[in-house]
């Protein structure tokens, strides 16, 4: 769907992107992660052809990115805004026509969306009369109205109240099910694990990690498990089939964090423990994307 190859972008005095390559396959929800100032917005602007890279190429569905692709991309920037003194309906029609829709088609589709989001009676309202959440709904409609194949959302959930954020999230998921590829950026990593198929981590203009969320997390597994048990406190003397990492006393028993021995399984651990205590809970400790990110950044230094 989108192939980003060796993109370099420099502004006077600083490098925004150095040699960034990414593959976004069709139908995915792709998360572009990184702290503020990492270069996410620069990359998004290049994909939207707002700015051009110093070097490197982008391919969209196999052809080199060009003006004709504008109509197949929907973009909601981080800094959202509409013309304050213009009526909402007319404004979205205008934005849709800039994306190549006809007047009649735009009107028809806006009516559909307004009904869906239950904002039918807003058509003639001016933007300045609407609350911020309402404006964002309108902006979302303007972003997806021309049924783009690729929807790019820069920090989509910042500024939405929880109810609207959930609503928009559901709409994004539905659009994705209908075939749209979603690319969004965020600096809040915890929000992406449930949502994204693939991610890329960008840090100080470099891509430091990318791939499928599951694969990345699997590759960061370290055979570490968490076990909660009740009964008398265990005393480990070194004969147990695992390495103890730490041990905490809780209200209903004890929690231990352990790492399996080379070649060992959780069954070995359970067989060792079950005769001595009752096990309440066992789960594998897989680092969150946030932890992976911090770990990765520390590695690079």
């Amino acid at each position: 769907m989108l192939s980003i190859r060796n993109i370099v972008k420099q502004y006077a005095g600083h490098t925004a992107l150095s040699d960034v390559s990414l593959e976004v396959s069709g139908g995915q929800i792709f998360g572009l992660l990184g702290p503020n100032g990492a270069g996410k917005t620069s990359l998004i602007r290049i994909i939207n052809q707002i700015t051009a890279p110093d070097s490197g190429e982008i391919y969209f569905d196999g052809t080199k990115l060009n003006q004709s692709h504008i109509e197949r991309i929907g973009y909601m920037p981080e800094e959202r805004g509409l013309y304050k003194k213009m009526a909402i309906g007319e404004q979205i029609v205008y934005l849709a026509r800039l994306k190549g829709l006809s007047h009649a088609e735009a009107t028809k589709r806006i009516k559909y969306w307004f009904e869906k989001l239950q904002i039918q009676d807003w058509w003639d309202k001016k933007v300045e009369e609407l609350s911020k959440g309402m404006q964002q709904k309108a902006q979302f409609v303007a972003t997806v109205l021309h049924e783009p194949d690729l929807i790019i959302l820069d920090e989509p959930f910042s500024g939405f109240d929880p109810v609207n954020a959930e609503l928009i999230k559901d709409e994004i998921l539905e659009l994705n099910r209908k075939g749209a590829t979603i690319l969004f950026s965020t600096h809040r990593m915890e929000s992406v694990e449930e949502l994204c198929d693939s991610i890329a981590l960008i840090h100080k203009s470099h891509k430091i990690l990318d791939g499928k969320v599951k694969e990345i997390r699997n590759s960061y597994r370290s055979n570490t498990f968490l076990i909660e048990y009740s009964g008398t406190k265990l005393d480990f003397n070194g004969t147990q089939p695992f390495t103890l990492l730490d041990e905490v006393a809780g209200e209903e028993g004890y929690t231990i964090r352990l790492q399996l021995n080379e070649g060992g399984t959780t069954n070995d651990v359970l067989q060792y423990l079950i005769p001595q205590v009752s096990i309440n809970h066992l789960h594998e400790v897989i680092p969150s994307v946030n932890e992976i990110f911090i770990q990765k950044v520390n590695q690079i230094g």
Binding site: A12, I50, I70, Y75, E79, L98
Partner: protein
């Protein structure tokens, strides 16, 4: 290109639909109508200006009686009454003016003009000038110059300025040309500022609203800038054309209903008939349009470099300077020396030409100068639009950064 049309359409409609636009369009003809009405009322009430004044002369010196000749609006009558008796009669008729010349009239303020109402300035001026002529004649005769020689010495000079043209001598009205030139310069100066500032405000609005990023993901920054400039240009043209049409209509109505053939003000207006209004108006539209394209591109670049209107000051100064400078020079020096070399150079430099040329147009500048000036305007606006668009495309995406001149230069050299 289709997208530029869409932008033009939005920029145009969003401005034309505003109440302020409609009000201004109709305000000017209403003011013009009010002006006609006031002129008409002044004329009606000032009929005494045209009424014939009867001046009764009591000449104790005997040097003037009979030599004063009737002039426009003045009729002299000799009176052989005493001053005291005449004064009594004066109160009966308020239109009568009494001129009293004592035996010795050399001392200051010895000659008196008496009337029931305040004496009319034109009448007293006429009397004074005639009496001075007569007194001078009398003095010359007294010194031994005979009357025949006297007529030869006296000369009566009045200037009629004529321009030599191929079709023959043409009566030219310098006063009217001056007035039209200065009025055109003021109008173009104000309109360039008013509509240029509209473009700038539009750019700042898009930037502070953050809608700019949505728009430039659909169109190129240059298309947006071009669409905005053309949209505002069409708004201003609509305004001017409506003003011209409505003003002509109002003048027609005023002419019909306030018709006053001998009104002195209408007489003054007839001086304007020597001006070729078609030529002036097309000149105005050309210089306004090219000047607007030139300046509004710069205004757009300024708007893109700032986050709010209050920050525009530092960049506005160099833009407004050439305009203000030419404006000040134009209404004073240029209007009096429309063919000087300074006038030529100012009307060739694109930054100053719109104002300078407006002053010169009523004085029929040479065709080759007009041609150079017009070419320079076109080159000028293409150049500034190019420079401005390079700053604009970077500036509109820079938030919360206070731009300096060196930064603008850097933006200009950005690749894309």
């Amino acid at each position: 290109m289709n997208k530029v049309l869409l932008i033009i359409q939005r920029e145009y409609l969003s401005r034309v639909r505003k109440k302020a636009f409609v009000v201004t369009v109709f305000l000017v003809p209403v003011l013009l109508l009010a002006m006609y009405a006031v002129m008409y009322l002044i004329y009606k009430n000032s009929s005494e200006l045209n009424a014939t004044h009867i001046v009764k002369v009591i000449d104790e010196s005997g040097n003037f009686a009979g030599k004063l000749h009737d002039a426009k609006n003045i009729k002299f009558e000799n009176l052989s009454q005493t001053l005291a008796a005449a004064k009594k009669d004066l109160k009966k008729d308020e239109d009568v003016i009494l001129l009293f010349i004592p035996k010795s009239y050399d001392s200051p303020k010895s000659v008196q003009v008496l009337s029931e109402k305040k004496p009319n300035l034109t009448v007293s001026n006429e009397i004074e000038s005639q009496m001075n002529d007569i007194a001078t004649n009398n003095n010359m005769v007294a010194k031994g110059i005979d009357t025949a020689q006297l007529h030869n010495i006296r000369s009566d000079i009045s200037i009629a300025s004529k321009e030599v043209t191929e079709t023959g001598d043409k009566e030219s009205n310098i006063g009217a040309s001056y007035g039209v030139g200065v009025a055109g310069a003021i109008l173009i100066y104000l309109s360039l500022f008013i509509y240029g500032a509209q473009v700038m405000r539009g750019v700042i609005e898009e930037k502070t609203n953050r809608i700019i990023e949505v728009i430039v993901s659909s169109v190129k920054p240059f298309q947006l800038m071009l669409g905005k400039i053309i949209g505002v240009a069409l708004v201003s043209l609509t305004q001017f054309i409506l003003w011209i049409i409505l003003s002509v209509a109002v003048s027609f109505i005023a002419n019909k209903y306030f018709n006053a053939p001998q009104s002195p003000i209408l007489g003054l207006l007839s001086g304007l008939k020597s001006i070729q209004f078609g030529f002036i108006i097309s000149g105005f539209l050309f210089y306004f349009l090219t000047g607007f394209l030139l300046y509004s591109a710069l205004f757009a670049a300024v708007g893109s470099a700032v986050d709010s209107e209050s920050e525009t000051q530092q960049f506005m100064f160099p833009i407004t300077m050439p305009l203000l400078f030419t404006y000040l020079i134009s209404v004073t020096f240029l209007a009096q020396n429309p063919d000087s070399s300074l006038a030529f150079w100012l009307s060739v430099v694109p930054f100053t030409a719109p104002v300078a040329m407006m002053v010169r147009l009523p004085f029929d500048p040479p065709a080759w100068q007009l041609a150079i000036s017009m070419c320079m305007m076109v080159i000028g606006f293409l150049f500034t639009t190019w420079v401005a668009s390079r700053i604009y495309r970077v500036g509109i995406l820079m938030y919360g950064k206070k731009a300096s001149y060196s930064e603008l230069v850097k933006w200009f050299f950005y690749k894309e």
